[in-house]
Amino acid sequence: MPKPEILDPQGKAVLGALPRLGFTGVSDVRQGKRFEIEIAEVNDAVLAEVRQMAETLLSNPVIENYTVSVEQ
């Protein structure tokens, strides 16, 4: 996700479109990215590697935060 202090023009565009469709009461929209990474066996070492992927390529830590979660 873009960090809270970073302007998110895409989110702003969505925020502008929602009232036009009748969805009122939305005060802000922020748009991020979701990566689904398939790995056969998940363990702590693999999770550490995924976090490394997130920090080096998938996100730019200068402007974005990331979280990692596991789904079976």
């Binding site: 960090k3 302007l7 023009p9 895409q10 730019n60 200068v62």
Partner: protein, 222 residues
């Protein structure tokens, strides 16, 4: 001097940059993104374009191209590197330059002849300009909004790392109207507008861009 110009898949200003290098009085050397070989060049330009479809983030994938391993290592040793537009985005993604570039705040592509002020003429790419000289060159970008956290912004302003600033209007939402920055050592410069398109009277808005390519000759190794 031998100045390498890297071609990435999707680079579109690489040939213009090579021509500008020659007009500036240097030898242009074509470099390929897939070759970890700088062919003995003294400086490198990362030109404009839209490599890898701008997937993920602009410059995020090119930053890991084989040639970039060499460019980053040499830049950290002091080799002059200039990133123009997409090249600026790659340099930020490489963390050779502070901050990052995001989508224009007005969300439209912008293309205009833009007035700038050169606020740091002590870099190897800007020494041909007078301090605070105003130049007009073309700007064309969709993701040219320069952002950085408040601490970084204060530091680069305080250290004189803002190389160029937009005048008359802010075309893309860049914080503090920043059009170009340099690293703390001053050898790596990123610039969102395109000086390589302002080097000949026949095409472009004038000759205000020549200085970026002539500076290397005039002062760097004098």
């Amino acid at each position: 001097m031998k100045v390498g110009v890297v071609t990435f898949p999707g680079s579109l200003d690489d040939v213009d940059a090579q021509r500008a290098v020659r007009i500036g009085g240097n030898e242009a050397v074509a470099l390929w993104h897939g070759d970890a070989d700088l062919k003995g060049v003294d400086a490198v330009i990362l030109p404009g374009g839209f490599s890898y479809g701008d997937y993920l983030r602009c410059g995020a994938i090119s930053r890991f191209a084989p040639v970039m391993t060499e460019v980053i290592a040499r830049a950290q040793q002091g080799m002059p590197v200039l990133g123009i537009c997409y090249g600026f985005q790659i340099l930020c993604e490489s963390h050779l330059l502070p901050g990052a570039l995001i989508r224009n705040d007005h969300r439209k592509f912008v293309c205009r002849d833009q007035l700038l002020r050169i606020e740091n003429n002590r870099t190897p790419w800007t020494s041909a300009y007078d301090q605070d000289q105003e130049i007009r060159i073309v700007l064309k970008n969709g993701e040219g909004g320069f952002v950085a956290d408040a601490g970084t912004l204060e530091r680069i302003e305080g250290e004189g790392q803002v190389v160029a600033r937009y005048l008359e209007m802010n075309p893309n939402g860049s914080l503090n109207d920043i059009a170009g920055v340099t690293n703390d050592r001053g050898n790596v410069v990123g610039l969102m507008p395109h000086p390589e398109h302002a080097v000949e009277e026949l095409t472009g808005s004038g000759l205000d861009g020549v200085g970026f390519f002539a500076s290397l000759v005039e002062k760097t190794f004098a």
